[in-house]
Symmetry: C2
Subunit: 246 residues, 2 copies
């Protein structure tokens, strides 16, 4: 059996907070558990917050804004390595980490104060590794940590949560070469375990209830890797989505 427990009672996270300590006080962690924490809490603790008052929008940001706040679009452009699709003010972009998502992961909701936006962590795998290390220090438990975010998908409505950073968790489970019960060899069956864990945790994370973390118990997920392993390599990507050329 798998259980998923919300970490309840966390305060509003501020820059410099010891997130691991706040969690360790509120969750009983055991070896093998997976802690899933929403990117926004991590980003806020790391001070990845931008005041729009300090942003000077470019002409490109103005065009993409389509009447919305061009400063927000300017931040999105700065966080983007490449624009994948645009339908102003909607921008699907590849972030500097290689993730393809709406607004390059820049989020206007749940900011620490009005007129701020929250960026993705600089290096979400490193964030996960630091949290894991600090939680081991505080609790002695050998756990996995996933930093999650809500991404839209082509062709399907709504967001599902995915892993944008991880530590001590196997990102992918490769069944290639294993056999199903009928003896048929499974070809190219790779399961995005860390993304499924992130989605499972989202079932208890409340965007409106202020619950940014959950503990999953009972999944054999311990392993090595990074969230970069979940990014499709360029040469295998059938959906690079070039912008219309010049």
């Amino acid at each position: 059996m798998i259980t998923i427990e919300p970490v309840e009672g966390l305060p509003e996270i501020r820059e410099g907070d010891d997130l691991a300590a706040l969690i360790a006080e509120r969750a009983e962690l055991r070896d093998g558990d997976v802690l899933v924490i929403a990117q926004k809490a991590v980003s806020k603790a790391e001070g990845r917050v931008v005041r729009l008052a300090e942003i000077e929008p470019s002409a490109e940001a103005g065009e993409l804004a389509a009447g919305e706040d061009p400063r927000r679009l300017e931040v999105i452009l700065r966080e983007s390595r490449r624009l994948v699709r645009t339908r102003p003010p909607l921008v699907i972009a590849e972030t500097r980490h290689g993730f393809v998502c709406a607004s390059a992961g820049v989020d206007s909701s749940n900011g620490p104060e009005p007129d701020t936006v929250v960026l993705l962590p600089e290096d979400p795998d490193a964030s996960a590794a630091r949290l894991r290390e600090r939680l081991r220090e505080l609790t002695g438990a050998e756990i996995g940590v996933i930093v999650s975010d809500s991404f839209g998908r082509p062709w399907r409505q709504g967001t599902t949560d995915v892993a944008i950073g991880l530590a001590g968790v196997q990102p992918l489970v490769d069944l290639t070469g294993e056999r199903d019960p009928a003896g048929y060899e499974l070809h190219a069956t790779v399961i995005a375990l860390a993304d499924e864990l992130a989605s499972a945790a989202e079932l208890v994370l409340g965007k409106t209830r202020g619950i940014p973390a959950a503990v999953i118990r009972g999944v054999d997920a311990a392993g090595e890797g990074t969230a970069q392993d979940l990014v499709m390599p360029r040469e295998r990507d059938l959906f690079r989505g070039e912008e219309p050329g010049p």
Copy 2:
């Protein structure tokens, strides 16, 4: 707390099996539970199995096969409404239901015998509704049912499970207009609840262990809708992926 329990000890499913009865004998179902069942078990019970020996491949199937079995490609073409991307023998297609996935959902593994492939159910929402009705009859429990399948995603490695059919489950949770703890109104925040439930269940479904069903308890997911609500409407789809024109 959420719990996810595998339904263990199910036999290999055959055409005509009373899937609901087989599950009811092995799982204790309560009001509010969500039963997630792998598409393949449903398809096999419904006889959605094709013998490749009976398939005459077209020239197009031969080209797409790139040396693999052209009869399998022929079945994929027949199940497709539209090809989205091809890199022979890999085909990403839109199924007649509107789902975009590899091989139009046609699966060669876990077939009931060698040289058979398994198709998606004709109408997975109807399959879910029938299972739900029959389980209510057998157990008295008012549950939700999701028929799940493993889909790949653009830009990300590995598959996650999604809902291709459902009954008694809210497919999407729309938070638009609700406020986060900071009082910021959430714009365009729609969560694909049914897909997250499918992914959560996959954590206990064993492709190699022959466990095709799981029971999720503790999620407030009861509601109306169909898996068609999870399909992005054509006019909002930024990734229609037209094939190269004539």
